[in-house]
């Protein structure tokens, strides 16, 4: 039997979990406990269930569209297009007012979702699966930059990622690609096959203001970011084949309804009249399924493709072990993904069992999110985080659900360990410590949070602090606490 060392306790909580809380009890076998956490993980805790979902976001957007459409028509921008840029040029004050109202509404929703995420991270009984929620939200990043995605980005994590965190990758993949946030963010919701019924009809009216067409953005990012990974051997032709198969995948409530079938607000809908007909070929394999089933079959194959396995294994190993993932461990994870038919638990179990994951000498530099959550857990923060925490994450360089690109945030120290970013962490540490007041004795807290990891130099710096708040700020700024 493996005897759990103090350092193993620290790694289970800080590297696999979200940071030690002072009241975390010691467990006899940290490795077994990490796996048991999936039994007590709640995909829909009360704080998250209370947040309005994508259906409400869609309803709010439809109401906004109904108000603004007359202005768009007057400006020659209407044309049935639902999409508007986040900061389009206001033509009249009333139009700007309508847009500002929706932006406010969505920003309120965003704030509520972000606070629910933070509350779940602070209070979860299952920090390892909770960390994986954040990992997969970053893998399938939707950035809250466009007007529609401000309110929707968080619902992707809640509705598509959380329920599938310990299941099969194909279920996670399908839930994400069919979610309105992804369909709108990557311009899939209005992609129309040139030879579809609608495409053919539009060509018969050559003086139409805009011809409908295919958008290959989602197809490209599925191959490049979500499944196979860049440089894994697929071609531009594969991107186009997948994009054609995806044509018709759309969302109820957000898009021109006069030419499509009705669907509930925010619900996935397949529009047969937009779908490019015919058989497709992806990575050399023929897909002759009709309609929606075609892209589904492609995604099912992509989910268990060896290149996907390697891509996911590399990212997971980078997240939990090292910026430069040990190749042997990546090989083992990738093989397990393929052998298990894409069961995510197979890779998680190997990561937890791997000796490489428990090496004390090579910690990961925390991202701003990791650091902030672990600092709040360290001071015992509870259920109702201040909205200023959401703002602080922006100042620290990692605003929630706002990576700015579908590639998500980087997961290496070079992206986060930078001069100004470090200064901001220390400033924020001072702020958190000031709010905690003198109720926390950092001299006693430090060995609880960092058993087997705390250095004599840090302990001494804390002990010499001129007041409790300063000692706590030093603990949260310490080299050991900046890493996991």
């Amino acid at each position: 039997m493996v005897i759990a060392t103090p350092a193993a306790f620290a790694i289970a909580h800080n590297r696999f979990g979200l940071g030690t809380r002072a009241d975390d009890a010691a467990v006899a076998d940290p490795r077994a406990d990490l796996i048991r956490q999936f039994d007590r993980f709640d995909p829909r805790p009360a704080t998250i269930a209370a947040v309005p979902g994508s259906a409400v976001m869609a309803r709010q957007f439809r109401e906004y569209l109904a108000q603004i459409r007359p202005f768009l028509r007057a400006n020659g921008l209407g044309n049935g297009m639902a999409e508007m840029p986040a900061a389009a040029m206001p033509a009249r004050s009333t139009e700007a007012d309508i847009r500002r109202d929706l932006r406010r509404q969505y920003q309120d929703n965003y704030g509520g979702q972000a606070r629910a995420r933070i509350a779940a991270a602070l209070t979860t009984p299952a920090p390892f699966p909770e960390r994986l929620v954040h990992f997969w939200a970053n893998h399938f990043a939707v950035s809250a930059d466009k007007l529609q995605t401000i309110g929707l980005a968080g619902t992707l994590e809640i509705e598509a990622n959380r329920p599938h965190i310990g299941g099969r990758f194909v279920d996670l993949l399908l839930a994400v690609e069919r979610h309105p946030a992804m369909l709108l963010y990557l311009d899939q919701a209005q992609s129309i096959g040139p030879n579809s019924a609608i495409g053919v009809a539009a060509r018969a009216r050559p003086n139409a203001r805009r011809q409908p067409g295919l958008n290959e953005n989602l197809g490209r990012e599925i191959l490049e970011l979500h499944t196979l990974g860049v440089g894994s051997g697929y071609t531009q032709a594969d991107v186009q084949q997948l994009a054609q198969a995806l044509s018709g995948w759309s969302v109820g409530g957000f898009v021109r309804r006069q030419i499509g079938i009705e669907a509930p607000d925010g619900a996935f809908v397949f529009q047969p009249a937009w779908h490019e007909p015919g058989a497709r070929s992806l990575l050399g394999k023929r897909y002759d399924q009709p309609g929606e089933a075609q892209a589904r079959a492609m995604l099912a194959d992509l989910a268990v493709h060896p290149a996907t396995a390697r891509h996911l294994a590399t990212k997971l190993t980078r997240h939990f072990v090292a910026d430069v993932p040990p190749p042997a461990l990546v090989d083992r994870l990738a093989a397990a993904h393929v052998a298990s038919g894409g069961d995510l638990m197979a890779m998680y179990r190997l990561l937890v069992a791997a000796p490489e994951s428990w090496a004390v000498a090579t910690p990961k530099f925390k991202t701003p999110w990791d650091w902030t959550i672990s600092a709040l857990r360290a001071v015992g923060a509870g259920n109702a985080p201040d909205l200023r925490v959401v703002g602080a994450l922006g100042q620290l360089g990692q605003p929630i659900w706002r990576s700015g690109s579908p590639a998500g945030w980087d997961d290496i120290a070079a992206s986060w360990a930078a001069p100004d970013a470090l200064l901001r962490r220390v400033e924020t540490a001072g702020r958190i410590a000031a709010q905690a007041g003198d109720r926390i004795d950092a001299r006693a807290l430090a060995p609880k949070l960092l058993p087997g990891v705390l250095t004599a130099a840090t302990a001494q710096a804390i002990a010499r602090a001129d007041r409790p708040q300063q000692g706590l700020a030093l603990l949260l700024s310490s080299p050991e606490f900046l890493r996991r």
Binding site: N215, L422, E427, Q470
Partner: protein, 383 residues
């Protein structure tokens, strides 16, 4: 009085490999400034500098211009017209202080943003082949101060990462930590080589920024801040600014108009903030690749290849579009869909750096851009 930069150039030629970089380090700091603006997301070069004189242009893009409220394109010669959002840049162009290089691209020929940005910033020929940025490799060749380079962002972008010292700075709305805490943190990091180095740079940069450290991070305030760093007599000589949001797959007209206004505002802020130093400044703005020649079905454009680079500054021989124009007819396109690149961004960067800082072009090509043969462009900068 001998022109120091000219002297350095000659000395570099005479001593060649033996002394090159070391001589530079020993010299007094240069008074020349270089600003690199990274346009992340792939700016549509064909909508920025429109090739209205190309016979195929009207059919492809005639109905795909700026939104009517933005104004009419600004003609610059018979072949090209500027997007109306670039008003300040157009005025600089008229004074001979801005130019464009068209049909230009990095050596990258795939269509991934992230790989393409890595190539743009590392100056390599393939993604992730080089581990440091081209601007960082340029720094040891320059006669510069102790903190020669600054990125106006919370973290250092790839273009500036590497072994030469470079710092980063972005305005913060967080309250300042008290000085005693900062001093104690300094002591606590003394034994940690990574944190000690980062911490020292952060404190130096904060002192340097001084009173200009307020305000939100938009490209215009970042450009103002960059000018503050660059205008100091012992300040940075190389600055990097990032402008995100160019990936216009849909509703391009309004979005690109806003993006270009930001870029134009950043150029204007550099021009105003640098004052007399503008005469000794080169600004180069480049993106990871261009966009498809034909618009897509959602009022946007998709990932392409050839695009446009903007060069501005009082040190520029401007007022022209530098291009070996490849044409927009179907047979002239790259992969049948993209503007075919006829110029290499590395050659532009190498040429600008060599002429601006009075360095041997061959030395810059070899040291900064490696073994792949790059022929630095010439005649871009007033020397």
């Amino acid at each position: 009085m001998i022109d120091r930069r000219l002297f350095l150039g000659r000395a570099g030629l005479a001593t060649g490999l033996l002394l090159g970089p070391r001589l530079a380090l020993a010299a007094a700091p240069t008074d020349r400034r270089l600003v690199f603006i990274i346009l992340r997301g792939a700016m549509d070069g064909l909508a920025t500098v429109m090739p209205v004189g190309d016979p195929a242009y009207a059919a492809l893009r005639g109905n795909f211009g700026p939104p009517p409220a933005a104004g009419a394109p600004l003609p610059i010669g018979a072949m090209f017209a500027l997007h109306p959002a670039l008003a300040t840049t157009a005025a600089l162009y008229a004074k001979g202080e801005a130019l464009f290089v068209h049909a230009i691209a990095s050596p990258y020929r795939e269509r991934s943003h992230f790989d393409a940005q890595n190539v743009l910033e590392t100056g390599g020929t393939a993604a992730y082949a080089l581990k440091d940025g081209w601007l960082n490799r340029l720094l040891p060749l320059l006669p510069v101060a102790r903190e020669p380079a600054v990125a106006l962002s919370p973290t250092v972008p790839m273009a500036l990462r590497g072994s030469a010292p470079a710092t980063s700075y972005a305005p913060s709305q967080l309250p300042d930590a008290d000085a005693d805490l900062l001093a104690r943190v300094s002591a606590m990091y003394a034994g940690d080589s990574q944190l000690h180095a980062l911490w020292s740079q952060a404190l130096d940069a904060r002192t340097m920024a001084g009173a200009d450290a307020q305000g939100r991070s938009n490209p215009v305030t970042l450009a103002k801040l960059a000018a503050t760093f660059l205008a100091k007599p012992d300040g940075a000589r190389v600055a990097v600014i990032e402008i995100n949001g160019w990936d216009t797959h849909s509703a391009q007209a309004g979005r690109l108009n806003n993006q270009l206004k930001q870029l134009d505002g950043a150029i204007a802020a550099l021009h105003a903030g640098l004052g007399a130093d503008w005469a000794r400044t080169v600004v180069v703005a480049a993106t990871e690749f261009g966009r498809t020649v034909a618009p897509n079905g959602t009022g946007g454009t998709d990932h392409g290849t050839g695009g446009v680079a903007l060069v501005a500054g009082g040190a520029i021989k401007g007022g022209r579009v530098v291009a070996d124009w490849p044409g927009l007819a179907p047979g002239q396109l790259h992969d049948g869909r993209d503007l075919r690149p006829t110029a290499d961004l590395r050659a532009l960067f190498a040429g600008l750096a060599a002429e601006h800082f009075g360095l041997d072009p061959a030395l810059v090509a070899r040291t900064v851009f490696g073994s792949d043969p790059v022929r630095p462009m010439t005649g871009l900068v007033r020397v």
